[in-house]
């Protein structure tokens, strides 16, 4: 767990403090997304965790131990780091890039080679072909996969990620998000993730911390941030379509009515679909309700516009 307690930071020459009396936790095995507009202090906050920036006040602990007890280099070698623009070393091959931290930790060559191949495979790049490539030979999406593989190289329990999926086309981005979520569900890292994109935050975060002018404005689960924005700023930041974003977070099973009459038409969705997909199907077909099937094809209920509206009226815990 990462604990940030009463942390403040001002930069010389800048007017207001970059971060003011900030406190929040990143529970072990969870993804906490730090979000806010440019200059709100989110990157500064992240960089204080691995001591690229030193706070003026407050403490940051990882698993109960103050980060200042470690030498900065030692600390950073045990924290995964993936950044905006990826920052791959252009003069090194993909394999060499991935092997940076294991190399710094003095792993044996064989173990490094093995680990590099394993990681490239994990992020969906064929190790034989990609290992020898240079970063300029990669597409934007491939480079970002390598960036993630590099951050995971020494199997650090904690990851810091600063907009690691920026600057790629929306399709690639969606795929990277899905893959990251799948990897995270397996590896259960403790992740502090910085972004300014609400869609990304909602998709990837177990919890969201909204920042503005160096201060914490709201921290909650994605769905609750969408449902109950703390103030007008958060409301405008999450956007006018926040109800639609919520739809994609809730599974269809949360708005099920009992199965009605059997329908003749091909109008059903799987039980793993989101409410957003269900509603899209309803609108497409122009019917008031559709069936929901489980993975064996058995009807488990129906979902309708009314049931979705009812689901949205229920208070969230």
């Amino acid at each position: 767990m990462i604990s940030i307690r009463n942390v403040s930071k001002s930069y010389e020459g800048a007017g207001a403090a970059a971060v003011r009396d900030l406190s929040f936790d990143v529970p072990a095995g969870e993804v906490v997304v730090l979000i806010g507009p440019s200059g709100c202090g989110k990157s500064t906050t992240m960089r204080m965790v691995n001591r690229l920036v030193e706070p003026d006040a407050g403490t940051i602990t990882i698993d109960g131990r103050d980060v200042r007890e470690y030498r900065p280099e030692q600390l950073r070698r045990h924290i995964g780091y993936a950044i905006q623009g990826v920052g791959l070393f252009p003069h090194w091959t993909v394999a060499q890039n991935v092997a940076v931290v294991p190399g710094l930790l003095g792993w044996e060559r064989e173990r490094v080679t093995e680990r590099t191949a394993e990681l490239l495979e994990l992020v969906g790049l064929e190790p034989g072909g990609y290992g020898r490539k240079y970063p300029h030979e990669l597409s934007g999406g491939e480079a970002q996969r390598v960036g993630v593989a590099r951050a995971l190289a020494a199997d650090p329990p904690v990851l810091l990620m600063d907009e690691p999926f920026g600057a790629v086309d929306p399709l690639t981005r969606d795929r990277l998000h899905a893959e990251f979520r799948a990897i995270q569900d397996r590896l259960k890292k403790t992740v502090l993730f910085v972004t300014h994109d609400m869609d990304e935050a909602v998709k990837l975060g177990d919890r969201i911390v909204v920042m503005r002018d160096g201060m914490l404005v709201q921290q909650d689960t994605p769905e609750r941030v969408l449902a109950y924005p703390a103030d007008a700023f958060v409301a405008s930041f999450v956007g006018a379509e926040r109800a639609l974003k919520r739809l994609s977070l809730a599974p269809v099973t949360e708005a099920l009515d009992p199965p009605g009459l059997a329908r003749a038409c091909d109008c059903s969705v799987g039980s793993t679909a989101s409410l957003r997909e269900a509603l899209a199907r309803i609108l497409e077909l122009g019917v008031p309700a559709i069936d929901v099937h489980d993975e064996h094809g058995a009807r488990v209920g129906t979902v309708s516009v009314e049931s979705i509206v009812e689901r949205f009226k229920r208070p969230l815990t």
Partner: protein, 397 residues
Amino acid sequence: MPERTRAHTVGLTAAILGLAAVTLLPFATLRSSRIQTGESLSALDALGPWGLVALLAVWLAVAVASLGGMPRIPAAALRGVLGTLALLGTVALSAAAVARLTDPSTPYARVSLGTGAWACIAIAYSLVLASRREDGLPRLARAILSLAAPLGIAVMLATGTLDGLAIMREYANQSDRFWAEVAAQLRFAGIAVTVALVLGTALGVLAFQRPRLRGPVFAVANIFQTIPGLAMVGLLFAPLSWLGSNIPLFGRLGVGGLGWAPVITALTLYALLAIVRNTYAGLASVPAAAVDAGLGMGMTEWQVMRRVRFPLAMPVIFGGMRTAAVQTLGNATLGAFVAAGTLGLFVFGGLSQQAMDLILLGSVALVLLALALDGILRALQGLVSPRHLRGREGAPR
């Protein structure tokens, strides 16, 4: 389908200038002895009708190869070959002219290349250099174009074909001293560039890491550039004389107002700016994300410098060194002013004796040395560039 091009401006210009040089300028000078004012000869007089026709034909062929209509890359290669022919042809035909123009009854008579011949050589070599830079030219063709002209000259020199030319007779008179002075020239330049490289890189790193020192470091390096060479050795005279006569170690090493000390000091100071500037610029051009990633993954400042910043800055730093080396090699003629020798002796000696061939011996040797050094360093630059930059657009060639 190979692209066909329109007229090639550089090639056409070269052809027109080449034709003009052959037809309008005096091609050679015939003198009855070393320091007599000579008689200017036209290309027809110097080369005879067939020689003239051959040379004109080569330049006309350059014009035809530049008119367009041919596929781009073969046309460039052809221009390169013709340029090489024009260069070697001018030299060889001039050498052959010596036998026609002199006879054993006039042993002191000399034939020098005239402005027309020198112009032909310069234009032809420019054409070769321009052609070999054409994008898409195969590496082998590039290498052949780079080497053919120098090799041709070397072969002619080695076989004695050129021995009759005045400049070579001057060389024969001076051959002992000539190589000693070439060695002095190279030694001074080599030592000065090495010292400047160590000092300049250190200052460049300092300027990069300590923004407050940036201004002063560049100001000092810039000031040296503004002091003319003669003034520099003049200014150094007093302090170096004092050091030499008051500090025994320096005295024993031969430090003084004259000799090697002022030359190497002056050359080092001149070479600093290019090296400091490029070291700084190279380090500053390293992508911020790469540095941030390096630090964020737990590299120490030193590791980031050694493994990320320096390798990525290397092409730019090396480029500064190349500029400094070529410039320093030329500047080393300063040695002639302070009794330290160098090829400058021939140039300044020739000027004072009005012996044109002696001047040419010094300056042609200088030009050839500088071109050779630049060529070697360019080739090396490719080798020190990180692999991802080699052979790509914007990469040093």
